[in-house]
Protein backbone atom coordinates (compact mmCIF):
# COMPACT_ATOMS: atom_id res chain seq x y z
CA UNK A 1 0.00 0.00 0.00
CA UNK A 2 1.27 3.44 -0.87
CA UNK A 3 0.11 6.89 0.15
CA UNK A 4 -0.17 9.70 -2.39
CA UNK A 5 0.01 13.50 -2.28
CA UNK A 6 -3.68 13.77 -1.62
CA UNK A 7 -3.40 11.47 1.43
CA UNK A 8 -0.59 13.61 2.82
CA UNK A 9 -2.64 16.78 2.36
CA UNK A 10 -5.64 15.16 4.04
CA UNK A 11 -3.63 13.92 7.04
CA UNK A 12 -1.79 17.23 7.39
CA UNK A 13 -5.15 18.94 7.61
CA UNK A 14 -6.40 16.45 10.22
CA UNK A 15 -3.17 16.96 12.19
CA UNK A 16 -3.39 20.76 11.84
CA UNK A 17 0.03 21.05 10.21
CA UNK A 18 0.81 23.41 7.36
CA UNK A 19 3.42 21.69 5.17
CA UNK A 20 5.54 23.48 2.57
CA UNK A 21 5.61 21.77 -0.87
CA UNK A 22 9.16 20.40 -0.44
CA UNK A 23 8.32 19.25 3.09
CA UNK A 24 5.22 17.52 1.77
CA UNK A 25 7.21 15.61 -0.85
CA UNK A 26 9.76 14.50 1.76
CA UNK A 27 6.98 13.48 4.14
CA UNK A 28 5.30 11.36 1.47
CA UNK A 29 8.54 9.60 0.65
CA UNK A 30 9.51 8.87 4.27
CA UNK A 31 6.05 7.80 5.42
CA UNK A 32 5.85 5.38 2.48
CA UNK A 33 9.28 3.98 3.42
CA UNK A 34 7.93 3.40 6.90
CA UNK A 35 4.76 1.70 5.67
CA UNK A 36 6.93 -0.76 3.75
CA UNK A 37 7.99 -2.27 7.08
CA UNK A 38 4.49 -1.95 8.54
CA UNK A 39 2.88 -4.18 5.94
CA UNK A 40 4.21 -7.35 7.64
CA UNK A 41 1.82 -6.85 10.57
CA UNK A 42 -1.20 -7.34 8.33
CA UNK A 43 -0.17 -10.93 7.68
CA UNK A 44 -0.20 -11.84 11.39
CA UNK A 45 -3.19 -13.94 12.44
CA UNK A 46 -4.70 -12.12 15.42
CA UNK A 47 -8.05 -13.89 15.44
CA UNK A 48 -9.52 -13.80 18.93
CA UNK A 49 -6.73 -11.67 20.42
CA UNK A 50 -7.96 -8.86 22.67
CA UNK A 51 -6.21 -5.57 21.76
CA UNK A 52 -3.82 -4.39 24.49
CA UNK A 53 -4.26 -0.67 25.01
CA UNK A 54 -2.17 -0.61 28.08
CA UNK A 55 0.55 -2.60 29.95
CA UNK A 56 -1.34 -2.51 33.26
CA UNK A 57 -3.90 -4.65 31.47
CA UNK A 58 -1.26 -7.35 30.88
CA UNK A 59 0.18 -7.66 34.38
CA UNK A 60 -0.80 -11.14 35.55
CA UNK A 61 -2.62 -11.26 38.87
CA UNK A 62 -1.94 -7.62 39.55
CA UNK A 63 -5.66 -6.80 39.99
CA UNK A 64 -4.93 -3.23 39.17
CA UNK A 65 -7.98 -1.39 37.98
CA UNK A 66 -7.81 1.81 36.03
CA UNK A 67 -9.59 4.39 38.08
CA UNK A 68 -11.18 7.80 38.00
CA UNK A 69 -10.88 10.28 40.83
CA UNK A 70 -13.90 11.99 42.38
CA UNK A 71 -15.05 15.02 40.39
CA UNK A 72 -14.18 17.63 43.00
CA UNK A 73 -12.00 20.74 42.79
CA UNK A 74 -8.64 19.88 44.29
CA UNK A 75 -6.37 22.61 42.94
CA UNK A 76 -6.04 26.15 44.27
CA UNK A 77 -6.73 28.98 41.83
CA UNK A 78 -3.42 29.81 40.13
CA UNK A 79 -4.75 31.66 37.09
CA UNK A 80 -1.85 34.11 36.79
CA UNK A 81 0.75 31.38 37.14
CA UNK A 82 -1.10 29.17 34.65
CA UNK A 83 -1.40 31.96 32.11
CA UNK A 84 2.07 33.44 32.30
CA UNK A 85 3.40 31.29 29.44
CA UNK A 86 0.39 32.01 27.19
CA UNK A 87 1.07 33.92 23.94
CA UNK A 88 -1.91 36.28 24.36
CA UNK A 89 -3.96 36.93 27.49
CA UNK A 90 -6.37 39.74 28.37
CA UNK A 91 -8.27 40.19 31.63
CA UNK A 92 -7.53 36.60 32.60
CA UNK A 93 -8.76 35.16 29.28
CA UNK A 94 -6.80 33.40 26.53
CA UNK A 95 -7.05 35.42 23.31
CA UNK A 96 -7.61 33.67 19.96
CA UNK A 97 -8.66 34.97 16.51
CA UNK A 98 -12.38 35.62 16.08
CA UNK A 99 -14.27 32.32 15.69
CA UNK A 100 -17.88 33.50 15.24
CA UNK A 101 -18.71 36.48 12.99
Amino acid sequence: MSLNDQDIRRIANLARLELQPDEQARMLHKINDFFDIVEQIRAVDTTGVVPMAHPVDAMPGAHIELRLRPDVASEPNQRDLNQHSAPAVERGLFLVPKVIE
Binding site: L3, D7, I8, I11, A12, L14, A15, R16, L17, E18, L19, Q20, E23, R26, M27, K30, I31, D33, F34, I37, V38, Q40, I41, R42, V44, T46, V49, V50, P51, M52, A53, H54, P55, V56, A58, M59, P60, A62, I64, L66, R67, L68, R69, S74, Q78, L81, N82, Q83, H84, S85, A86, P87, A88, F94, V96, P97, K98, V99
Partner: protein, 499 residues
Protein backbone atom coordinates in the same frame (compact mmCIF):
# COMPACT_ATOMS: atom_id res chain seq x y z
CA UNK B 1 39.08 16.17 53.74
CA UNK B 2 38.65 19.74 52.49
CA UNK B 3 41.07 21.04 49.90
CA UNK B 4 42.12 20.36 46.35
CA UNK B 5 42.17 16.56 46.55
CA UNK B 6 38.62 16.54 47.77
CA UNK B 7 37.24 18.87 45.10
CA UNK B 8 39.19 17.06 42.36
CA UNK B 9 37.57 13.77 43.24
CA UNK B 10 34.08 14.95 44.16
CA UNK B 11 32.64 14.26 40.74
CA UNK B 12 33.93 10.70 40.77
CA UNK B 13 32.22 9.73 43.99
CA UNK B 14 29.13 7.56 44.22
CA UNK B 15 25.84 8.90 45.56
CA UNK B 16 26.30 7.15 48.88
CA UNK B 17 29.85 8.52 49.19
CA UNK B 18 28.59 12.03 48.47
CA UNK B 19 25.75 11.56 50.92
CA UNK B 20 28.16 10.38 53.62
CA UNK B 21 30.52 13.31 52.96
CA UNK B 22 27.60 15.75 53.28
CA UNK B 23 26.35 14.24 56.54
CA UNK B 24 29.89 14.22 57.96
CA UNK B 25 30.16 17.93 56.94
CA UNK B 26 33.25 17.20 54.85
CA UNK B 27 31.58 19.16 52.11
CA UNK B 28 28.47 21.35 52.05
CA UNK B 29 25.58 21.06 49.62
CA UNK B 30 26.45 24.55 48.34
CA UNK B 31 30.08 23.57 47.68
CA UNK B 32 28.96 20.40 45.93
CA UNK B 33 26.47 22.31 43.77
CA UNK B 34 29.12 24.88 42.87
CA UNK B 35 31.58 22.15 41.94
CA UNK B 36 29.17 20.50 39.51
CA UNK B 37 27.78 23.80 38.18
CA UNK B 38 31.33 24.85 37.27
CA UNK B 39 31.75 21.61 35.35
CA UNK B 40 28.36 21.95 33.66
CA UNK B 41 29.05 25.54 32.63
CA UNK B 42 32.44 24.62 31.17
CA UNK B 43 30.98 21.74 29.17
CA UNK B 44 30.83 21.92 25.38
CA UNK B 45 28.85 18.74 24.68
CA UNK B 46 25.49 20.50 24.62
CA UNK B 47 24.13 18.28 27.40
CA UNK B 48 22.59 21.09 29.48
CA UNK B 49 19.70 23.19 28.14
CA UNK B 50 19.10 25.34 31.21
CA UNK B 51 21.13 26.26 34.25
CA UNK B 52 19.79 28.62 36.90
CA UNK B 53 22.55 29.12 39.42
CA UNK B 54 20.45 31.14 41.86
CA UNK B 55 17.75 28.48 42.01
CA UNK B 56 20.29 25.67 42.45
CA UNK B 57 22.17 27.47 45.21
CA UNK B 58 18.91 28.32 47.02
CA UNK B 59 18.03 24.62 47.00
CA UNK B 60 21.54 23.76 48.21
CA UNK B 61 21.31 26.30 51.08
CA UNK B 62 18.01 24.77 52.16
CA UNK B 63 19.69 21.34 52.05
CA UNK B 64 22.57 22.57 54.20
CA UNK B 65 20.07 23.88 56.76
CA UNK B 66 18.28 20.53 56.85
CA UNK B 67 21.61 18.67 57.12
CA UNK B 68 22.59 20.90 60.04
CA UNK B 69 19.26 20.23 61.71
CA UNK B 70 19.49 16.50 60.98
CA UNK B 71 16.13 16.53 59.17
CA UNK B 72 17.26 15.85 55.62
CA UNK B 73 15.92 13.40 53.04
CA UNK B 74 17.56 10.16 51.93
CA UNK B 75 19.89 11.88 49.44
CA UNK B 76 19.88 15.32 51.03
CA UNK B 77 22.14 17.80 49.25
CA UNK B 78 23.30 15.40 46.50
CA UNK B 79 22.99 17.07 43.09
CA UNK B 80 21.16 15.74 40.04
CA UNK B 81 19.81 17.06 36.76
CA UNK B 82 16.53 16.37 35.00
CA UNK B 83 15.74 15.43 31.45
CA UNK B 84 13.92 18.38 29.89
CA UNK B 85 10.61 16.49 29.59
CA UNK B 86 10.05 16.82 33.36
CA UNK B 87 8.35 20.13 34.08
CA UNK B 88 10.06 22.34 36.65
CA UNK B 89 9.14 25.64 38.30
CA UNK B 90 12.69 26.90 38.71
CA UNK B 91 14.00 26.00 35.25
CA UNK B 92 12.78 26.45 31.70
CA UNK B 93 11.14 23.30 30.27
CA UNK B 94 11.15 22.79 26.51
CA UNK B 95 11.13 19.01 25.90
CA UNK B 96 13.77 19.85 23.30
CA UNK B 97 11.13 21.62 21.18
CA UNK B 98 10.97 25.11 19.77
CA UNK B 99 7.22 25.13 20.41
CA UNK B 100 7.95 25.28 24.17
CA UNK B 101 10.81 27.76 23.91
CA UNK B 102 11.12 29.63 27.23
CA UNK B 103 8.22 27.73 28.85
CA UNK B 104 7.93 27.94 32.66
CA UNK B 105 5.75 25.37 34.36
CA UNK B 106 3.59 26.46 37.30
CA UNK B 107 4.51 23.23 39.11
CA UNK B 108 7.19 20.54 39.47
CA UNK B 109 6.62 17.02 38.09
CA UNK B 110 5.92 14.40 40.78
CA UNK B 111 9.29 12.72 40.11
CA UNK B 112 11.07 16.10 40.49
CA UNK B 113 9.23 16.68 43.77
CA UNK B 114 9.96 13.21 45.14
CA UNK B 115 13.67 13.53 44.38
CA UNK B 116 13.78 17.08 45.75
CA UNK B 117 11.11 18.83 47.78
CA UNK B 118 7.36 18.24 47.68
CA UNK B 119 4.89 20.95 46.66
CA UNK B 120 3.84 21.52 50.28
CA UNK B 121 7.47 22.17 51.27
CA UNK B 122 8.11 18.85 53.00
CA UNK B 123 11.34 17.23 51.94
CA UNK B 124 11.44 14.32 49.49
CA UNK B 125 14.87 12.83 48.89
CA UNK B 126 16.26 16.36 49.28
CA UNK B 127 18.39 16.34 46.12
CA UNK B 128 19.56 19.60 44.55
CA UNK B 129 18.69 20.29 40.89
CA UNK B 130 21.61 21.44 38.73
CA UNK B 131 19.52 22.12 35.62
CA UNK B 132 17.77 20.61 32.64
CA UNK B 133 19.20 18.16 30.14
CA UNK B 134 18.96 18.02 26.36
CA UNK B 135 16.87 15.34 24.63
CA UNK B 136 15.27 14.51 21.32
CA UNK B 137 12.24 16.72 20.70
CA UNK B 138 9.37 15.34 22.82
CA UNK B 139 11.61 12.30 23.44
CA UNK B 140 11.15 11.18 19.83
CA UNK B 141 14.49 9.87 18.65
CA UNK B 142 17.40 7.55 19.29
CA UNK B 143 20.33 9.93 18.75
CA UNK B 144 19.47 13.25 20.45
CA UNK B 145 19.88 14.84 17.01
CA UNK B 146 16.16 15.68 16.91
CA UNK B 147 16.54 18.35 19.61
CA UNK B 148 15.60 21.85 18.43
CA UNK B 149 18.51 23.09 20.56
CA UNK B 150 21.26 21.12 18.85
CA UNK B 151 22.76 17.68 19.10
CA UNK B 152 24.73 16.40 22.11
CA UNK B 153 28.15 14.85 21.59
CA UNK B 154 29.21 11.57 23.17
CA UNK B 155 31.86 12.11 25.92
CA UNK B 156 33.72 9.01 24.66
CA UNK B 157 34.03 10.40 21.12
CA UNK B 158 32.74 13.86 20.22
CA UNK B 159 32.11 12.78 16.62
CA UNK B 160 29.46 10.32 17.80
CA UNK B 161 25.91 10.53 19.14
CA UNK B 162 25.22 9.93 22.85
CA UNK B 163 22.06 7.99 21.99
CA UNK B 164 18.56 9.13 22.70
CA UNK B 165 16.18 10.29 23.56
CA UNK B 166 17.73 10.83 27.01
CA UNK B 167 21.06 11.73 25.34
CA UNK B 168 21.81 14.79 27.48
CA UNK B 169 21.19 12.76 30.65
CA UNK B 170 23.58 9.97 29.58
CA UNK B 171 26.28 12.34 28.34
CA UNK B 172 26.12 14.49 31.49
CA UNK B 173 26.49 11.49 33.81
CA UNK B 174 29.31 9.97 31.73
CA UNK B 175 31.20 13.29 31.66
CA UNK B 176 30.71 13.69 35.43
CA UNK B 177 28.74 16.95 34.98
CA UNK B 178 26.22 15.51 37.41
CA UNK B 179 26.38 12.42 39.61
CA UNK B 180 22.87 11.39 38.53
CA UNK B 181 20.10 12.26 36.12
CA UNK B 182 16.52 11.42 35.38
CA UNK B 183 15.52 9.99 32.04
CA UNK B 184 12.36 8.75 30.38
CA UNK B 185 11.98 5.61 28.34
CA UNK B 186 9.19 5.10 25.80
CA UNK B 187 10.92 2.67 23.45
CA UNK B 188 14.43 2.52 24.91
CA UNK B 189 15.25 6.14 25.69
CA UNK B 190 16.94 5.36 29.02
CA UNK B 191 18.57 2.04 28.16
CA UNK B 192 20.04 2.92 24.75
CA UNK B 193 21.80 6.21 25.69
CA UNK B 194 23.00 4.58 28.94
CA UNK B 195 24.52 1.83 26.82
CA UNK B 196 26.08 4.27 24.33
CA UNK B 197 27.65 6.41 27.08
CA UNK B 198 28.83 3.57 29.35
CA UNK B 199 26.57 4.33 32.30
CA UNK B 200 23.86 2.41 34.18
CA UNK B 201 20.16 3.16 33.70
CA UNK B 202 16.89 1.47 34.56
CA UNK B 203 13.36 1.82 33.23
CA UNK B 204 11.04 0.44 35.90
CA UNK B 205 7.75 -1.38 35.31
CA UNK B 206 5.21 0.82 33.54
CA UNK B 207 3.27 2.68 36.24
CA UNK B 208 5.94 2.50 38.97
CA UNK B 209 6.98 6.17 38.65
CA UNK B 210 4.36 8.87 38.23
CA UNK B 211 3.88 10.39 34.78
CA UNK B 212 2.43 13.59 36.30
CA UNK B 213 4.44 16.49 34.95
CA UNK B 214 6.28 14.34 32.41
CA UNK B 215 5.48 15.89 29.04
CA UNK B 216 3.54 13.14 27.28
CA UNK B 217 4.81 11.43 24.15
CA UNK B 218 3.12 7.99 24.15
CA UNK B 219 1.19 7.61 27.38
CA UNK B 220 0.85 3.82 27.40
CA UNK B 221 4.65 3.49 27.09
CA UNK B 222 6.26 6.53 28.78
CA UNK B 223 8.08 5.70 32.00
CA UNK B 224 10.59 7.64 34.10
CA UNK B 225 13.76 6.14 35.51
CA UNK B 226 17.20 6.98 36.89
CA UNK B 227 20.53 7.18 35.03
CA UNK B 228 23.73 7.04 37.05
CA UNK B 229 27.08 5.32 37.13
CA UNK B 230 26.24 2.13 39.03
CA UNK B 231 23.36 -0.17 39.91
CA UNK B 232 23.86 0.82 43.55
CA UNK B 233 23.29 4.50 42.68
CA UNK B 234 20.31 3.66 40.46
CA UNK B 235 18.72 1.67 43.31
CA UNK B 236 18.93 4.70 45.63
CA UNK B 237 17.39 6.99 43.00
CA UNK B 238 14.68 4.55 41.95
CA UNK B 239 13.63 4.04 45.58
CA UNK B 240 13.09 7.80 45.84
CA UNK B 241 11.31 8.17 42.45
CA UNK B 242 8.70 5.41 42.62
CA UNK B 243 5.46 5.03 44.53
CA UNK B 244 1.76 5.57 43.90
CA UNK B 245 0.49 8.94 42.66
CA UNK B 246 -3.13 7.90 42.63
CA UNK B 247 -4.83 11.28 42.30
CA UNK B 248 -2.55 12.68 39.61
CA UNK B 249 -1.69 9.76 37.33
CA UNK B 250 -4.53 7.49 36.25
CA UNK B 251 -2.10 4.65 35.41
CA UNK B 252 0.14 4.94 38.47
CA UNK B 253 0.38 1.48 40.04
CA UNK B 254 -1.10 1.23 43.50
CA UNK B 255 1.96 -0.63 44.72
CA UNK B 256 3.83 0.60 47.81
CA UNK B 257 7.20 2.32 47.38
CA UNK B 258 10.02 -0.19 47.66
CA UNK B 259 13.58 -0.10 48.94
CA UNK B 260 15.36 -1.23 45.79
CA UNK B 261 18.72 -1.41 47.59
CA UNK B 262 17.56 -4.16 49.94
CA UNK B 263 18.38 -7.12 47.68
CA UNK B 264 21.55 -5.82 46.00
CA UNK B 265 23.68 -8.24 48.01
CA UNK B 266 21.72 -11.42 47.13
CA UNK B 267 23.69 -14.25 45.57
CA UNK B 268 23.23 -15.13 41.90
CA UNK B 269 23.53 -18.83 42.66
CA UNK B 270 20.89 -20.69 40.66
CA UNK B 271 19.65 -17.57 38.85
CA UNK B 272 18.21 -18.55 35.46
CA UNK B 273 19.16 -16.04 32.76
CA UNK B 274 17.11 -16.37 29.59
CA UNK B 275 18.84 -15.58 26.29
CA UNK B 276 16.30 -14.87 23.52
CA UNK B 277 17.72 -16.33 20.33
CA UNK B 278 16.17 -13.44 18.37
CA UNK B 279 18.47 -11.01 20.26
CA UNK B 280 21.63 -12.82 19.14
CA UNK B 281 21.03 -13.12 15.40
CA UNK B 282 22.74 -11.75 12.31
CA UNK B 283 21.78 -8.15 13.08
CA UNK B 284 24.03 -8.04 16.14
CA UNK B 285 27.48 -6.52 15.58
CA UNK B 286 30.42 -8.76 16.51
CA UNK B 287 32.00 -6.26 18.92
CA UNK B 288 28.76 -5.96 20.89
CA UNK B 289 28.26 -9.73 20.88
CA UNK B 290 31.80 -10.32 22.20
CA UNK B 291 31.28 -7.95 25.14
CA UNK B 292 27.87 -9.46 25.99
CA UNK B 293 29.21 -13.03 25.81
CA UNK B 294 32.03 -12.12 28.21
CA UNK B 295 29.54 -10.55 30.64
CA UNK B 296 27.37 -13.68 30.53
CA UNK B 297 30.46 -15.77 31.38
CA UNK B 298 31.10 -13.54 34.40
CA UNK B 299 27.51 -14.07 35.56
CA UNK B 300 27.83 -17.83 34.98
CA UNK B 301 30.97 -17.84 37.12
CA UNK B 302 28.84 -16.31 39.88
CA UNK B 303 26.41 -19.21 39.78
CA UNK B 304 23.87 -18.10 37.17
CA UNK B 305 22.57 -20.57 34.58
CA UNK B 306 22.07 -19.55 30.96
CA UNK B 307 18.81 -20.74 29.44
CA UNK B 308 17.89 -20.49 25.73
CA UNK B 309 14.48 -18.84 25.23
CA UNK B 310 12.51 -17.40 22.35
CA UNK B 311 10.67 -14.11 21.85
CA UNK B 312 9.33 -15.03 18.42
CA UNK B 313 7.70 -11.71 17.60
CA UNK B 314 10.76 -9.53 18.27
CA UNK B 315 10.94 -8.23 14.70
CA UNK B 316 7.32 -7.11 14.80
CA UNK B 317 8.16 -4.80 17.69
CA UNK B 318 9.37 -2.16 15.23
CA UNK B 319 6.18 -1.72 13.18
CA UNK B 320 3.98 -2.27 16.26
CA UNK B 321 5.80 0.38 18.31
CA UNK B 322 6.05 2.85 15.44
CA UNK B 323 2.27 2.62 14.96
CA UNK B 324 1.20 2.75 18.61
CA UNK B 325 3.62 5.45 19.81
CA UNK B 326 2.88 7.91 16.96
CA UNK B 327 -0.87 7.27 17.35
CA UNK B 328 -0.66 8.30 21.01
CA UNK B 329 1.70 11.16 20.15
CA UNK B 330 -0.65 12.61 17.55
CA UNK B 331 -3.30 12.83 20.23
CA UNK B 332 -0.99 14.04 23.04
CA UNK B 333 0.64 16.74 20.94
CA UNK B 334 -2.67 18.25 19.84
CA UNK B 335 -2.42 20.42 22.97
CA UNK B 336 0.38 22.45 21.36
CA UNK B 337 -1.77 24.85 19.41
CA UNK B 338 -0.44 28.29 20.35
CA UNK B 339 -3.29 29.12 22.74
CA UNK B 340 -2.39 28.30 26.34
CA UNK B 341 1.39 28.07 26.27
CA UNK B 342 4.38 28.15 24.01
CA UNK B 343 5.04 29.51 20.56
CA UNK B 344 2.35 31.18 18.40
CA UNK B 345 2.86 32.05 14.72
CA UNK B 346 2.78 35.76 13.89
CA UNK B 347 0.83 35.78 10.62
CA UNK B 348 -2.46 33.93 10.34
CA UNK B 349 -5.94 34.55 8.98
CA UNK B 350 -8.20 32.62 11.33
CA UNK B 351 -8.09 30.13 14.21
CA UNK B 352 -7.35 27.06 12.06
CA UNK B 353 -4.60 28.86 10.16
CA UNK B 354 -3.14 29.95 13.49
CA UNK B 355 -3.04 26.31 14.65
CA UNK B 356 -1.50 25.09 11.41
CA UNK B 357 1.18 27.76 11.14
CA UNK B 358 2.02 27.61 14.84
CA UNK B 359 2.52 23.84 14.71
CA UNK B 360 4.39 24.02 11.39
CA UNK B 361 6.85 26.51 12.88
CA UNK B 362 7.10 24.94 16.33
CA UNK B 363 7.62 21.24 15.59
CA UNK B 364 10.68 19.63 14.02
CA UNK B 365 10.59 17.23 11.11
CA UNK B 366 10.62 13.94 13.05
CA UNK B 367 7.83 15.12 15.37
CA UNK B 368 5.71 16.18 12.39
CA UNK B 369 6.32 12.79 10.76
CA UNK B 370 5.17 10.93 13.86
CA UNK B 371 2.10 13.15 14.27
CA UNK B 372 1.21 12.50 10.62
CA UNK B 373 1.78 8.74 10.93
CA UNK B 374 -0.31 8.68 14.08
CA UNK B 375 -3.15 10.69 12.57
CA UNK B 376 -3.14 8.36 9.57
CA UNK B 377 -3.30 5.05 11.49
CA UNK B 378 -6.10 6.43 13.65
CA UNK B 379 -8.11 7.78 10.70
CA UNK B 380 -11.29 6.25 9.34
CA UNK B 381 -10.63 3.16 7.25
CA UNK B 382 -7.15 2.48 8.64
CA UNK B 383 -7.79 2.18 12.38
CA UNK B 384 -8.60 -1.55 12.32
CA UNK B 385 -5.88 -2.54 9.84
CA UNK B 386 -3.06 -0.71 11.62
CA UNK B 387 -3.78 0.62 15.09
CA UNK B 388 -6.01 -2.17 16.38
CA UNK B 389 -3.90 -4.85 14.70
CA UNK B 390 -0.78 -3.38 16.36
CA UNK B 391 -2.51 -3.49 19.76
CA UNK B 392 -3.39 -7.14 19.23
CA UNK B 393 0.20 -8.04 18.37
CA UNK B 394 1.26 -6.03 21.41
CA UNK B 395 -0.80 -8.42 23.55
CA UNK B 396 0.78 -11.45 21.83
CA UNK B 397 4.24 -10.04 22.56
CA UNK B 398 3.39 -9.48 26.23
CA UNK B 399 2.18 -13.12 26.37
CA UNK B 400 5.44 -14.27 24.74
CA UNK B 401 7.34 -12.69 27.64
CA UNK B 402 5.18 -14.51 30.20
CA UNK B 403 5.92 -17.82 28.48
CA UNK B 404 9.64 -16.95 28.56
CA UNK B 405 9.54 -16.06 32.25
CA UNK B 406 8.19 -19.54 33.01
CA UNK B 407 11.68 -20.75 32.09
CA UNK B 408 13.93 -17.99 33.44
CA UNK B 409 14.16 -15.32 36.15
CA UNK B 410 15.64 -12.50 34.08
CA UNK B 411 16.31 -12.03 30.38
CA UNK B 412 19.66 -10.78 29.09
CA UNK B 413 20.81 -9.53 25.71
CA UNK B 414 22.18 -6.50 23.92
CA UNK B 415 20.63 -3.04 24.35
CA UNK B 416 21.41 -2.06 20.77
CA UNK B 417 22.80 -3.90 17.73
CA UNK B 418 25.91 -1.64 17.53
CA UNK B 419 27.86 0.90 19.57
CA UNK B 420 27.04 4.63 19.19
CA UNK B 421 27.18 5.72 15.57
CA UNK B 422 28.58 8.93 14.07
CA UNK B 423 26.63 12.20 14.25
CA UNK B 424 24.71 12.74 11.03
CA UNK B 425 24.99 9.09 10.02
CA UNK B 426 21.25 8.45 9.81
CA UNK B 427 20.20 12.05 9.11
CA UNK B 428 18.59 11.23 5.78
CA UNK B 429 17.27 7.83 6.84
CA UNK B 430 15.09 7.90 9.96
CA UNK B 431 14.19 4.24 9.39
CA UNK B 432 17.77 3.26 10.26
CA UNK B 433 17.22 4.78 13.71
CA UNK B 434 13.91 2.92 14.08
CA UNK B 435 15.50 -0.42 13.20
CA UNK B 436 18.26 0.09 15.80
CA UNK B 437 15.56 0.15 18.52
CA UNK B 438 14.72 -3.52 17.97
CA UNK B 439 16.05 -4.89 21.28
CA UNK B 440 14.58 -2.23 23.57
CA UNK B 441 11.07 -2.01 22.05
CA UNK B 442 9.73 -5.43 23.18
CA UNK B 443 10.05 -4.70 26.93
CA UNK B 444 8.55 -1.24 26.38
CA UNK B 445 5.51 -2.63 24.60
CA UNK B 446 4.96 -5.19 27.36
CA UNK B 447 5.55 -2.59 30.11
CA UNK B 448 8.34 -4.66 31.69
CA UNK B 449 11.31 -3.24 33.63
CA UNK B 450 14.59 -3.14 31.73
CA UNK B 451 18.05 -1.82 32.36
CA UNK B 452 21.41 -1.23 30.72
CA UNK B 453 24.66 -2.24 32.40
CA UNK B 454 28.11 -1.32 31.01
CA UNK B 455 29.90 -4.53 30.00
CA UNK B 456 32.91 -3.37 28.05
CA UNK B 457 34.02 -1.63 24.89
CA UNK B 458 33.60 -2.33 21.22
CA UNK B 459 34.54 -0.67 17.95
CA UNK B 460 36.67 2.48 18.37
CA UNK B 461 36.65 2.04 22.14
CA UNK B 462 32.97 2.86 22.44
CA UNK B 463 30.99 1.50 25.43
CA UNK B 464 28.70 -1.53 25.14
CA UNK B 465 25.68 -2.04 27.38
CA UNK B 466 23.99 -5.30 28.28
CA UNK B 467 20.23 -5.24 28.65
CA UNK B 468 18.52 -7.01 31.53
CA UNK B 469 14.74 -7.44 31.39
CA UNK B 470 12.69 -8.60 34.37
CA UNK B 471 9.11 -9.61 34.92
CA UNK B 472 6.64 -7.01 36.22
CA UNK B 473 7.77 -5.35 39.49
CA UNK B 474 11.08 -7.27 39.48
CA UNK B 475 13.32 -4.17 39.45
CA UNK B 476 15.07 -5.28 42.64
CA UNK B 477 16.13 -8.50 40.91
CA UNK B 478 17.55 -6.62 37.91
CA UNK B 479 19.47 -4.23 40.16
CA UNK B 480 20.74 -7.19 42.19
CA UNK B 481 22.11 -8.90 39.07
CA UNK B 482 23.67 -5.66 37.83
CA UNK B 483 25.23 -4.90 41.22
CA UNK B 484 26.71 -8.39 41.60
CA UNK B 485 28.16 -8.04 38.11
CA UNK B 486 29.61 -4.61 38.98
CA UNK B 487 31.22 -6.05 42.13
CA UNK B 488 33.25 -8.33 39.84
CA UNK B 489 33.97 -5.87 37.02
CA UNK B 490 35.11 -2.29 36.64
CA UNK B 491 33.47 -1.14 33.38
CA UNK B 492 31.01 1.11 35.24
CA UNK B 493 33.98 3.03 36.72
CA UNK B 494 35.67 3.61 33.36
CA UNK B 495 35.88 7.29 32.41
CA UNK B 496 36.11 8.99 29.03
CA UNK B 497 39.49 10.65 28.40
CA UNK B 498 39.91 14.04 30.07
CA UNK B 499 37.16 13.47 32.64
Amino acid sequence: MRGTDMTQSLHNQSLSELSTALRAKHVSAVELAQHFLARAKADASGAFLDINEDATLAQAKASDARLAAGTGGALEGVPLAHKDVFVTRDFVTTAGSKILSGYRSPFDATVVQKLGTLADGTVGAGMVTLGKLNCDEFAMGSSNENSAYGAVTNPWDASRIPGGSSGGSAAAVAARLTPAATGTDTGGSIRQPASFCGITGIKPTYGRASRYGMIAYASSLDQAGPMARSAEDCALLLSAMCGPDIDRDATSLDVPAENFSAKLGDSLQGLRIGLPKEFFGDGLATDVRTAIDAALKTLEAQGAKLVPITLPRTELAIPVYYIIAPAEASSNLSRFDGVKFGHRAKDYTDLVSMYKKTRAEGFGEEVKRRIMTGAYVLSHGYYDAYYLQAQKIRRMMADDFQRAFAECDVIAGPVAPTVAWKLGNNASDPLADYLADIFTLPASLAGLPGMSVPVGFGEAGMPVGMQLIGNYLQEARLLNVAHQYQLHTDFHNAKPEGV
